[in-house]
Amino acid sequence: MISLSNITIAFGGQSMPVLAGVSLAVEEGGFVSVVGASGCGKSTLLNVIAGLEKPHAGSVNVESRPSLIFQDPALFAWLSARDNVVLALHDKGLRRADQRNEADRLLSLMGLAGEENKRPHELSGGMRQRVAMARAIARGSRVLLMDEPFSALDAITRDVLHDELVTLWKEHGLTIVFVTHNVREAVTLGQRVVLMAARPGRVVAEWRIDEAYPRDPSSDYVHVVERDITGALKKEVVGV
């Protein structure tokens, strides 16, 4: 599980902290979406959970070493899809052939069988994001931190990846924190949606999404919750 308690962090002499007293608990196997206006500290929150930023106050507890997935898949351009995943297996004590087999298995799991030898520039945006997910899983991490991973993709690819992510989450019992600007995406994916406000970054509201998976992003249920959250988000952004 992930447990954040009263996290406060500020950068470079700024008087206003980026995060102020943020507390968040995600149970093992939970899927939490985080939405909020630009600059409210969503990405900083993920960096704190990942251990890339040290908070000035508060405590962070994460059950296992998390893997971060960004909007930019951050694949290594000089390596094939397979070798990108193999690199994540470097400290698993596997022989080279076993590393390759494991990488191929994970890529196949992500629907990339037959694409193992392609370089990132030869893959579509959705395929690159699948390689990034395979790489994250290869680390053996039970915790995935996703920072707007699908925001640069077209709507259809995004929908397909939503389904694949939910399947991956359930089959592997992952714990996921998913940051997004897209409220519908947050509702479609998360068991809970957390709304953050800016200046200073803090959690202001939370919704529990009880709809069963797989969810239809165009369903009435999703639409109603989306409208509710969007209204609250607008209040935070423009104060009305």
């Binding site: 930019d72 470097h90 520039h121």
Partner: protein
């Protein structure tokens, strides 16, 4: 067959350009602006090259200079690569070494020749010292720039993959910085080659009297313009050979493997 065709396609513009130079050159000779003792014809320079070949000087001079240049260049890579990585990745080292590297890069390496001759005499040590002083700052500075241009997401990805220390340098930092590093290597070679020619021209006695620079010196001493131009042609040809046979394929391979445009 397709490789031969692509080589022919690549060589065609070069051959056309060189052909144009020869035509203009011959036209200047025919116009008799200067006597042929000062501006010899292309045929006279070709004769001088033939003479160097039949005397057995051509190949030995080319070999001696190329051998020194390549060896000095490889030594420069061995020194500049760890130095550049240290400057790029260790803040304390960067703050005091980078300004020194930048200052050295501005200094024409020929200005080190008299000092090196006084210190080491007209020996190979002088040549290698001058090559190192010319090439190391250029290669190291380009590597620093290449590392500086690695996107933050790649650093974070390496960190998330648990890559640290030398493994991170080998698997991520050097490959990610490779386009900038390659530019540095090309510049470094150019500096090394020019430094070598400067050293061979100025110190053309002792151990050093057997390279391409010596052909130019012999030509100058005997007022033989054909011989000097033959020497210039050989210097140019060697530089082009390394560029076309070494750096061009390497650059094409590195860039195309990353989906970057290859010009």
């Amino acid at each position: 067959m397709s490789r031969l065709r692509s080589f022919a396609a690549a060589a065609k513009p070069f051959a056309l350009g060189m052909g144009a130079v020869v035509i203009v050159w011959q036209a200047i000779v025919w116009s008799k602006v200067k006597p042929t003792s000062q501006i010899p014809s292309p045929a006279m320079v070709a004769d001088a090259l033939g003479g160097l070949w039949s005397d057995g000087v051509l190949l030995s001079s080319v070999w001696n200079s190329l051998h020194r240049g390549v060896l000095g260049f490889l030594m420069s890579i061995l020194i500049a690569t760890p130095l550049g990585l240290a400057v790029a990745m260790v803040r304390g080292v960067r703050s005091f070494v980078r300004p020194v590297l930048s200052a050295l890069q501005q200094l024409p390496s020929v200005s080190w020749v008299p000092i090196s001759i006084v210190l080491f005499g007209t020996t190979s040590t002088t040549v290698y010292a001058i090559i190192l002083l010319g090439a190391v700052p250029s290669i190291a500075n380009s590597l620093v720039s290449g590392v500086d241009l690695i996107p933050p997401t790649q650093w974070r990805a390496a960190s998330m993959l648990g890559l640290g220390g030398l493994r991170s340098v080998r698997r991520v930092v050097l490959p990610a910085a490779m386009p900038g590093y390659l530019t540095g290597l090309e510049q470094g070679w150019a500096f090394a080659w020019r430094s070598l020619m400067a050293a061979e021209l100025i110190a053309s006695t002792g151990d050093l009297g057997s390279g391409l620079g010596n052909i130019l010196t012999v030509g100058r001493n005997s007022q033989d313009m054909s011989l000097m131009l033959a020497g210039v042609a050989l210097v140019l040809a060697c530089g082009l050979l390394v560029e076309k046979a070494g750096f061009s394929p390497l650059r094409r391979r590195v860039l195309s493997s990353r989906g970057l445009a290859v010009v």
